[in-house]
Symmetry: C2
Subunit: 473 residues, 2 copies
């Protein structure tokens, strides 16, 4: 039985063998030799990054001398000026600023969030940060804890959220091995929770911080209002604060929370992306981008998010330049402004690329922290992606010595607007276990970044760019 059933498979396999023998073998030797050349050059890239890397001292400067740099802030302007002047020292073919207008949200005085009216515990403060984009305001009200959207809709439909503070307490799922999946599974509370609660008459929202740690750092991040509903104050509270509040609410029905947020949105401000490039010798209008985002939230140093990506992107060009590499395509470092709360830099870049008729051959974003490299994810328009990915996968063995895995997956927010232009998109994927410990929190500071891990990331991206530049797509 097996005989008859499997014959077609047998012959298909045999024919494939035949095809392989007669058509590919002559190339195989040349391929092996070329792989040796590539492997040697990639070794040099890693050696250069690990022994002479600039990304780590650059990050130190960005963190300690400029600090966090929210879009529209003075420190964001300083970061633009300093990264441009640093790129100016690298002997690139050109370095320039690409203007964009950015939102200008300001936090003002620190948020005051307190549990009041709890007899057992007495009034106590909750570690809180206003969410980016929230309106300011002062409210005191009963609190309703919500762990699922259905629950919100049921209580809302029954009129039970009117005048209340909604407290979203659905945690990140610790069993997800890739922590970005766990983040993706609950960030909807932060982004859309305010308007979904305002729809039912709620007066403010508190959101459990998006982190897998149990500690007292609140994690801020972007939120959006639906203009159909009232704009109500929204703040993140630390996971420890969320646990305390939840327990108080279970034990004492009369507990209320008072919230005072002092944030506001000011008029848009002129800002810019920072771009440097090594011009391609053969196809200068086909662009290979490596980029991260220059803005950060207004807490900590924005070290992993995304200081790391900024300095790595800059250092990728320095490494290739230092090794005397003359690219066929133009290799460009793009430091995007305003990833966190508007994506204005990414949109401005894509608009100008389209206007100039450039082809974004490959765009690599590093915005997942400066941790030890695990691989790259690849994405693109369906029509061309399969072909690109097949070619990319032939490089897998060259990355084995460095522990990187190439796979289909997400890329990055800033390069998202380029997707329609039919190039390859890629997201650099460092190890994700520690990322959300620090993400958007006071604890995202320089000391959390390891020098070698950062440098290995730089080298990994330079290696990928070398291969894409050499062989095209």
């Amino acid at each position: 039985m097996g005989n008859r059933v499997f014959q077609p498979l047998f012959w298909a396999n045999a024919l494939f063998t035949l095809y392989f023998i007669f058509t590919l073998s002559p190339n195989a030797a040349a391929q092996t030799k070329e792989q040796g050349v590539d492997s040697a050059f990639i070794d040099r890239i890693y050696d250069q990054s690990l022994t002479n890397g600039r990304c780590y001292p650059w990050l130190e400067h960005l963190c300690h001398h400029i600090g966090h740099r929210l879009s529209g802030s003075q420190s964001a302007a300083k970061a633009v000026a300093w990264t441009k002047s640093t790129l100016d020292t690298l002997g690139l073919d050109s370095v320039w600023l690409q203007p964009c207008m950015v939102p200008h949200w300001v936090r003002g005085e620190a948020a005051q969030v307190r549990v009041v009216g709890s007899k057992k515990d007495g009034p106590y403060p909750l570690a809180a940060l206003a969410l980016g984009g929230s309106v300011g305001g002062k409210v005191q009200a009963d609190v309703v804890e919500i762990d699922a959207w259905e629950q919100l809709d049921q209580l809302g439909a029954a009129g039970k959220l009117k005048g209340k503070i909604v407290f979203y307490n659905r945690p990140m799922d610790a069993t997800k091995i890739r922590t970005f999946e766990a983040y993706g599974g609950c960030v909807d509370q932060r982004v859309g929770g305010a308007s979904r609660a305002a729809k039912y008459g709620a007066v403010a929202v508190l959101v459990r911080s998006m982190t897998l740690r149990l500690d007292d750092f609140p994690h801020t991040g972007s939120m959006h209002y639906d203009s159909a509903y009232a704009f109500i104050p929204a703040a993140a509270i630390s996971t420890l604060a969320a646990e305390s509040l939840s327990q108080t609410l279970r034990e004492e029905k009369r507990a209320k929370v008072s919230i005072q947020l002092n944030c506001q949105t000011l008029p848009d401000v002129a800002s810019s992306n920072v771009i440097g490039e090594i011009r391609g010798t053969e196809r200068p209008n086909d662009i290979i981008i490596v980029g991260g985002h220059l803005d950060s939230w207004d807490v900590g140093h924005g070290a992993h998010d995304d200081g790391a990506g900024v300095v790595q992107s800059m250092d990728v060009l320095r490494v290739l330049k230092t090794l005397g590499y003359r690219p066929r395509h133009t290799i460009r470092c793009v430091l995007f402004m305003n990833e966190e709360n508007g994506l204005r830099g990414g949109k401005a870049y894509a608009a100008e690329a389209a206007r100039k008729g450039e082809f974004p051959l490959a765009s690599i974003e590093t915005d997942a922290g400066g941790f030890t490299p695990r691989g790259f994810g690849f994405d693109g328009e369906e029509a061309v992606f399969g072909k690109f990915f097949e070619k990319i996968m032939t490089y897998q063995s060259l990355f084995e010595p460095y522990g990187l895995k190439l796979s289909k997956g997400g890329s990055g927010a800033d390069i998202g607007p380029l997707k329609g232009m039919k190039g390859l998109l890629s997201g650099y994927s460092p190890d994700s276990q520690r990322y959300f410990d620090y993400h958007h929190a006071e604890s995202d500071t320089f000391d959390k970044v390891n020098k070698r891990e950062l440098e290995l990331g730089t080298a990994s991206m330079a290696a990928l760019i070398y291969l894409i530049d050499k062989y095209g797509l």
Copy 2:
């Protein structure tokens, strides 16, 4: 031409296809089903570890309530008592202490190492730690920097090391992607440098710390004297101190160094390994070990080295027990005493295993830090290893979702004495980039360990043990 040359390959391939179709396919379905069972159980192991793990709070206790625990110290005795009493709470089949005598080296007052007689810089201190096992002593002498053994032998043969302090300054090689290779490439200076210098009449040695960071933490570690030569004082200095000293020596020929070490070796002390086991239902005399070492150097918390391995090993048994797993073979957690300066625990364990006629089916050591998992290395006696490794490699796909790679490689010091007994040896391999930042230094503290990374390690080892137990070797 290609036709004639490649025909044998073609037919070999075709026959293999045939063989595959007719002989393996019936098993393939069963295998796939069984893989589903395994994959589901491994998922449960990871879930249990990530949502209910005990290793992190245990590590907190070990670090903050017991602290570092050098062999022979009171805190080592406390660590024995506390880990035993903790294992006692897990409902294992038995928990016991396995006695061994251990060396008792004590550091005494902090080392004093100073550069003197430098006109330009004035006297200045070098951050130093006596090496473990060093004799105490007080010397002041000229310093000769040595970067290669040939240089030592040439200068020594020329009589130029007599009465001098030898300063070994060969750094770890930053270009090695696996940092353990870089460590292996220069730890000979620390281990054997004193006697090799004493052979030529040197009066003391200073060794550049074994770390890839440039900072001011000296890193201690074991050293051995060759009884043919004088026992001279030996200390590690921080990498920053090594750079300063090197520069001073280049600029000022008259600079000397004064060294005072207050360490000494006291008589051996009674101590023990701590062992807990779940007895095998089918082959109780075939043992699967998971273990780390309970002792540490007498600085910092010994958090990554090897507090992490201790609590992971304990938690592996708890996870399997909690999931109701009834093993075919005996699964044993062994907390070895005295890995750092004598390996007495490992030797005592192997001796008793041999005496009892136990078969160490598989022994897994976790002694490379509590970092994010990258894989396992496997090793064993040549006669049986190939067969074992082939079987182990069939599990590779089950580890893909967790990012682990199975490969040939080193195992661990404590399980080394078991090698002759023809079982499988394995070393758990977490990411190695940060390990030597903290190794044997004051900075190896609890806060350097990430909860999820630690828990993922526990789960990875429990998963490997499950597969080895289920399918044998």
